[in-house]
Subunit: 333 residues, 2 copies
């Protein structure tokens, strides 16, 4: 049993304070089944089992595999943004509005029951390659300001269909979370002449305490001031601003780091619900965001957000990040 911690930690990027309070900690062994299996969409009703038959418009099919396909990119039937009819901001009294233009795609993985944690690295590499390819296509389209690549796993993480899939949203604005990460990085760069994430990585790779996994190009770690208990972030070790510029070898290393991190979470925490996102700059062509350092964040959804969590934008962290990293390192996959 490690020491109890009750302290505030500041996120060096956003400036937000996080409460670490392990006095009422949930130990890993206390996690019950996260209901992922229980909430599974029955295979005969699954709209992603045969996407085309269920009226999904296929954008592209990847990797033939044994069953005819391995990954399919389709249009989301219930898009939250759509169309290319973006105009100027309109003002109404004290308010501003615009059209909800953009593109909302779903990246469906073939196997109804195998989440990313259970796939081979090569299959995860195919999927991360699809993310990059769709990014490069979508960034050419009008009205697209930010391309959000994310995955919801499990009911508590907002997955309404259990069949494994990711979502790509080409949005006409930058989500506030990303905007703040960009602003914090820019400020740190202006004040110290260095990339905040490079400084964090250098510290973490030297200390080793919170590293969960590393390979040649990527490091997966539990943040010093996480927003979720057992949160894992995956960074390219070398300063690299834009996800869509990740090269072939790096992409395989990224897929490995992602698969290993998700498998450790799956095995160690009894298949919890989680979200992951890629944090990368808005779509641009002028190297405006070279100060940024792209990365992926995995947010396990182990608790319900009450008022305090909504107001601070994160869990009360009830597991010491050092202990969370040590635990995840120890998990066999």
């Amino acid at each position: 049993m490690n020491k109890e911690i009750s302290e505030l930690r500041q996120d060096p990027v956003s400036g937000d304070w996080v409460i670490i309070s392990t006095g009422r900690a949930k130990r890993p062994e206390s996690f019950k089944s996260r209901h992922v299996a229980a909430s599974e969409t029955p295979i005969n009703l699954c709209p992603f089992e045969n996407p085309q038959e269920h009226g999904n418009t296929i954008i592209k099919t990847y990797g033939a595999g044994d069953h005819g396909w391995a990954v399919q990119a389709v249009k989301n039937k219930f898009p939250i943004v759509s169309g290319e009819n973006c105009g100027f901001e309109k003002r109404i009294g004290p308010y501003a509005k615009n059209d909800a233009a953009g593109h909302h795609e779903v990246v469906i993985f073939k196997d109804h029951r195998k989440s990313l944690a259970q796939l081979k690295t090569a299959d995860v590499g195919l999927i991360t390659g699809v993310f990059k390819e769709r990014y490069l296509e979508l960034e050419k389209l009008p009205c697209v300001n930010y391309i959000l690549i994310m995955l919801n796993h499990g009911r508590e993480a907002g997955a309404s269909i259990s069949h494994p899939h990711a979502q790509i949203m080409a949005l006409p604005f930058t989500p506030s979370d990303i905007r703040r990460s960009l602003e914090g990085s820019k400020k740190y760069q202006a004040e110290r002449g260095r990339c905040v994430h490079c400084d964090i990585l250098a510290w973490e790779l030297k200390e080793k305490k919170r590293i969960v996994f590393e390979n040649d190009y990527f490091a997966a770690l539990v943040p010093y001031a996480p927003k979720f208990s057992y949160e894992v972030r995956i960074f390219p070790k070398k300063h690299s601003s834009y996800f869509e510029e990740v090269g072939g070898n790096e992409l395989n290393n990224f897929a490995e780091a992602l698969r290993v991190s998700l498998a450790k979470i799956y095995n160690g925490l009894n298949n919890p619900s989680y979200n992951f996102f890629i944090h990368t700059p808005p779509v641009e062509r002028d190297h405006e965001y070279d100060y940024y350092h792209w990365h992926l964040e995995i947010n396990p959804r182990l608790g319900v957000w009450g008022g305090f969590e909504l107001g601070t934008g994160g869990d009360v962290i009830d597991v010491d990040p050092d202990e969370a990293a040590e635990f995840l390192r120890s998990i066999k996959i």
Copy 2:
């Protein structure tokens, strides 16, 4: 049936963009029971039924009533901040930390089954009076930077005990949500010489479309760019910066606006889970935040937050705010 809306709206305070997408709207009549009753703590096991017997340290008892008390302020047995041992920020490599000092209190309402929505205005007035009294006591203590007054109602809103209660957290830092509201208000004031919330209120009270309820001193409205479907915000009509300075008459009007808003949500949306918070400036004595306009936000928790919602800090709004306000106005209480 009103028109369908698919647009972006910008929050005039934070600058965050919100997606309003009513194409897949949930209509009020579609809400099922929100499980609040089903998740009720049995009365014989309820630690708030006889707080003292269950080992809660009573701070103060208010309003004798028929059953010996009406409201009790107690110390939270599982505080997320505690003690007065706050020091200087310590730096460790690229990070900053501090002690999680502060005070975490619970304000327990007498009746196990009656939430604020079901109380009389006078009883709600007693409770809001306790909020103010505790605020004035807590702000005198060392290490206290922000006093968060909030309530979680229902399981989906993070209430672990169903017995109606609010929480008061005297924190050594300002939650990020409040910090951004302060920053946005300060910027607007600097740029235009006016209070952003006063401008919003003047517009809304003239338009009337999104007003849910008003009395002499307070207005309850659905925001133009809400963060939650059926969100309601309650503002003092006259510019007023600090909750703790609310006077006697105003406090009764505030209690009425709060009770009426919660009763409309309770009756109209089938007792959903919700959180509410008071947004007021950090503890201060120098009128530093006179530009701010305190208010209360009620956030119904009708959906599960997936990755998109986490990244933007709000629901995809699936109910037209005009329609939400019209609906809540129509609800008899």
